[in-house]
């Protein structure tokens, strides 16, 4: 089995926030802490508006893990980045380092005091005993150990957000992209990577550099 991954298909995400609600409900995440959120770019601009659901991406070389002064992060054998909240000192270095804004800090308290970091666990709980009350209280439900996938992905209304074994996720996505009637390249990201304009697979042929006859 490969690594666990999330993938959000911007051609499918409609910003319904079903993923956010599923996450909050499954783990009883307090108000103000967003393990997952949906961002919309170019809101209201015809032809340019895209929405994406974002949480911890469970990086292979996770920046949060590199910068953590107390080394409370670990990667599971499935490639899920987790952390032990007990040694966490709530310094927020991981928040600086994370490119996705995944680390969250509780907002309660008289001075908005910064508590221990909280983030998406890929529904894999934490280092406490699986499905124990302690694990739930600190990290939320451990669906992975029940043979289930993250609640956000499984609840997604349009199946924009996929989660699970990277091989399986990419298989599903490949199927979909190939069905897109030449629009597979229309997925957000292609134009960024290969330039704007005709973003169809046939465009690949057009950008193939012409070999010029040497003088």
């Amino acid at each position: 089995m490969a690594r666990m991954k999330f993938l959000c298909d911007s051609e499918r995400c409609i910003e319904c926030n079903g993923c956010v609600t599923a996450c909050k409900q499954e783990h009883e995440v307090p108000w103000g802490v967003n393990r997952r959120r949906v961002v919309t770019m170019n809101d209201g601009v015809a032809g340019a508006e895209k929405s994406l659901s974002v949480a911890c991406m469970h990086c292979t070389d996770a920046p949060c893990m590199s910068v953590c002064p107390v080394d409370c992060f670990y990667t599971t054998s499935e490639g899920v980045v987790l952390h032990d909240k007990d040694p966490c000192i709530g310094c927020g270095y991981c928040f600086y380092a994370c490119p996705f804004g995944a680390p969250q800090f509780p907002q309660d308290g008289a001075f908005g005091m910064r508590g221990k970091m909280d983030k998406c666990t890929f529904c894999a709980g934490g280092p406490e005993a699986d499905n124990s009350a302690e694990e739930f209280q600190k990290y939320g439900r451990n669906r992975l150990s029940e043979g289930k996938l993250p609640a956000c992905a499984e609840m997604c209304s349009t199946k924009a957000l996929l989660g699970g074994d990277a091989d399986e996720v990419s298989n599903i996505f490949r199927d979909r992209v190939m069905n897109r009637d030449g629009k597979g390249a229309g997925v957000f990201g292609w134009a960024t990577a290969y330039g704007k304009g005709d973003a169809k697979p046939s465009a690949q042929e057009k950008v193939t550099p012409k070999v010029e006859a040497k003088p």
């Binding site: 409609i14 609600t21 409900q25 108000w31 015809a46 209304s157 009637d181």
Partner: protein
């Protein structure tokens, strides 16, 4: 190809998957809406339309279609009545005129028309964006006619897809909440009363005695949209003895209805107000604003706390299991109904008590050990009575077998391939999931349900159909029946034919196909009143549709506008168009009340000078309906914490307001809403959008202390309908919530 005035991505996120899936498989998606919605963001093309001008746009498309000969001539000749009159109207809608009225360019209108015509089957999806207008009936009919012109109705992948607003709205409509009909669209005619009295096991004379006069029994009642006028209108102007004195809000949000300001006056004047709801809802707070007594709150169970059948937008029915027991003091709706009937003294009639003491609907133990009518028996009563739309074959046993064996149904065709229910031995093969109505005949004859209405490429026992012969056989010398050769597959009558009754069966020589018992029941009856189901069975055995085979009406002669016409909204942003496209004349009596049209429009011709912005409203994904339940849920409340108005940057800048600032939104009723701005290009300049799920603020004031203690929703805000203006559809009495005027200023 799909389009128009539905915002599925926010209002129906799960259904949006169908559209996205179709798009991935090559369908073109075009969104036509006054607002660039999340649905528009997923469409191939988006065209902006001025709110409330849909008829002009649809006629403009038909203009292109007829001009280019894109219409399905064969289909129209065989299956549509009165298209010439539509052609005449469409001819008036030149591209220039369409642009003048809708703001849409010729190329845009032509593009949608051509895409729809050349990529068949094509469908139109809509919801409240078409219906909640003063000319809503014309808009939806124009959409249907448009599909008829292209031959898209009765075709898999075509048709009109109208997404319902809530869970089981379709089912509720089918069992008859409309004040002009008994269940199953039987109407209020004496025959309908007699039919139901028999099914219910209630003496018809007893029913008659419940009405003060026989006329009241057959007169359409008041519509829910206008209950406030039924309270406030002068008594001599209303078409019943007394004004409305008592109102029961049963799972209904007051803030989803227009003219909130006047609603407060009506609530004040009522003698009795009852709220039956899982939450006290905004009704309770509004009542507390205006009165101290005569208000009763009855806590109702949610759908998770009861079982029963629910009908979806595609007319398929699912059986729902109870997840938890009713919490706190809540009781199920049917228990509350039964207990009210007990207090009123007609519990026996409600349950259909027979002379031998047997109950047609038995009692079962519900919440806290109290009696409630058995839900399976309630469905069986529907099965016994509603022959009109084929609610007869969906027995609780068949539906429950479907739920236990979902895996045998093909996800695309919805049809079972093989499969046998382990519990009952019921053979599922060939059934369509949820037995979408019409599922004619008794459950025993195993009609599979109809996945698409009017589809004559299939046999009637295979879910096929044709248009119903509901309006006679001819009109002004022109036949209303389908042309020769146009019939559902395998029909033994290959021409058009009228509805089936005992006379027709005898004429055809099919009477002897009935069993003796059936003959006895069917004598003197027709396909919708024969309780044995024999007439339906025999008609279908010969491949015929029980309701006849006729043409669809493009001209509805019994409506005020037989051909849909564009009419400007009562509060129009374009007074220059009112003379050419005026609204209806004022009506003295519709649904027991006078309805104002022209006088309101004329009086507000200049309103646009003080209220220059078009005010429209709609839904958010986070909240549902009036929003009291969902705004009380912390996980949802966190996502939308404040009521807002979407306003174009130009309009915001011209008024000196910035994003996320409080503003006053004032409508011509002088009602003022204090809301936050969301400055966005989603709306064009000149239009503002407000979501309708909020309540709990009243013109700047937080009503938190008006809710019973501990029941105020977490998120409260201004209800847009506090400010919405007068206006009702002439046929349906649907309120105008989508096109009115307002002004926005800094708070």
């Amino acid at each position: 190809m799909r389009s128009l005035q539905d915002h599925a991505a926010e209002a129906h996120p799960v259904s949006m998957l169908h559209t996205l899936h179709a798009k991935e498989n090559g369908a073109k998606v075009i969104c036509v809406d006054p607002r660039f919605t999340r649905t528009a963001a997923k469409a191939d093309k988006y065209y902006r339309i001025r709110s409330g001008t849909d008829v002009a746009f649809l006629m403009g498309m038909m203009h292109h279609i007829f001009k280019n000969g894109w219409e399905d001539k064969e289909y129209i000749a065989a299956r549509v009545y009165g298209i010439d009159k539509v052609k005449e109207e469409a001819a008036k809608w030149t591209p220039e005129e369409v642009e003048r009225v809708t703001g849409m360019k010729e190329a845009e209108v032509r593009d949608v028309a051509e895409t729809m015509a050349k990529n068949k089957p094509s469908t139109i999806i809509w919801a409240m964006g078409q219906t909640q207008h003063t000319n809503g009936n014309a808009i939806v009919r124009a959409s249907c006619i448009f599909q008829l012109v292209l031959g898209n109705v009765g075709v898999s992948g075509g048709g009109t897809n109208i997404y319902r607003g809530h869970d089981n709205v379709q089912g509720a409509t089918d069992v008859g909440p409309n004040p002009d009909s008994l269940p199953g669209y039987y109407g209020l005619v004496p025959g309908a009363w007699a039919h139901f009295a028999k099914v219910w096991g209630v003496d018809l004379d007893w029913i008659k005695k419940q009405f003060p006069t026989p006329a009241m029994m057959e007169k359409p009642g008041l519509t829910v949209s206008r209950w406030i006028d039924a309270v406030l209108e002068k008594n001599e102007l209303i078409d019943q003895d007394s004004n409305l004195k008592a109102v029961v809000f049963w799972g209904h949000a007051p803030n989803s209805q227009s003219r909130g300001k006047e609603m407060i006056d009506a609530i004040k004047k009522l003698e009795l107000l009852v709220v039956v709801d899982p939450y006290p809802s905004a009704t309770a707070a509004m009542a507390a604003m205006s009165r101290q007594d005569g208000v009763y709150l009855l806590p109702a169970a949610t759908q998770l706390e009861c079982s029963g059948s629910a009908t979806a937008s595609n007319r398929s029915i699912q059986w729902r299991e109870k997840v938890i027991e009713p919490m706190f003091e809540s009781r199920t709706d049917h228990m509350i109904m039964y207990q009210l009937a007990q207090k009123f003294g007609y519990a026996d009639q409600l349950l259909g008590k027979q002379s031998d003491g047997k109950l047609r609907i038995k009692l079962t133990k519900g919440a806290k050990g109290m009696d409630e009518p058995d839900v399976e028996d309630i469905l069986r009563e529907i099965n016994r009575s509603v022959w009109t739309i084929g609610y007869t074959g969906q027995s609780p046993e068949r539906l429950q077998a479907h739920m236990r064996n979902m895996h045998v149904f093909d996800v695309k065709t919805l049809r079972a391939k093989g499969g046998k229910d382990a519990k009952t031995g019921y053979v599922l093969d060939g059934d369509y999931f949820g037995l979408p109505w019409p599922c004619f005949g008794t459950a025993e004859i195993k009609h599979p349900g109809s996945p698409n209405l009017y589809d004559n490429s299939r046999h009637v026992m295979d879910g096929g159909g044709n248009f119903r012969a509901n309006f006679g056989v001819e009109r002004d010398g022109v036949s209303l029946l389908a042309s020769d050769g146009s019939h559902s597959k395998g029909a033994e009558i290959t021409t058009g034919y009228p509805e089936f009754d005992h006379v027709l069966l005898k004429k055809l020589g099919w009477w002897d196909d009935l069993t003796e018992v059936e003959q006895k029941a069917a004598e003197g009856k027709n396909w919708k009143t024969d309780l044995s189901g024999g007439i339906q069975r025999v008609a279908m055995k010969h491949g015929c549709h029980p309701f006849g085979n006729a043409k669809a009406r493009a001209v509805v002669w019994n409506f005020p506008d037989p051909v849909p016409l564009h009419r400007e909204a009562l509060y129009s942003p374009r007074p220059d168009l009112i003379d050419k496209y005026p609204t209806h004349a004022d009506q003295k009596n519709r649904w027991r009340l006078p309805v104002l049209f022209k006088s309101v429009q004329d009086a507000n011709k200049d309103a646009v000078k003080s209220y220059p912005l078009v005010m429209t409203s709609g839904r958010l994904t986070e909240y549902e309906g009036g929003g009291d339940e969902t705004r009380s849920n912390p996980w949802l409340a966190e996502l939308q914490q404040e009521m807002f108005v979407e306003i174009n940057p130009k309009d915001a800048n011209d008024r000196g307001v910035r994003n996320n600032e409080y503003v006053w939104v004032e409508s011509p009723t002088k009602a003022k809403l204090k809301v936050k701005t969301l400055v966005t290009e989603r709306v064009g300049a000149g239009t503002v959008f407000l979501p309708f799920h909020f309540a709990g603020w009243w013109q700047g004031l937080d009503l938190r202390d008006k809710y019973p203690e501990g029941t105020a929703p977490i998120v409260r805000g201004e209800a847009v309908n506090t400010a919405t203006t007068y206006g009702y559809d002439i046929v349906t009495m649907m309120q105008e919530t989508k096109t009115t005027l307002c002004q926005v200023s800094r708070a």
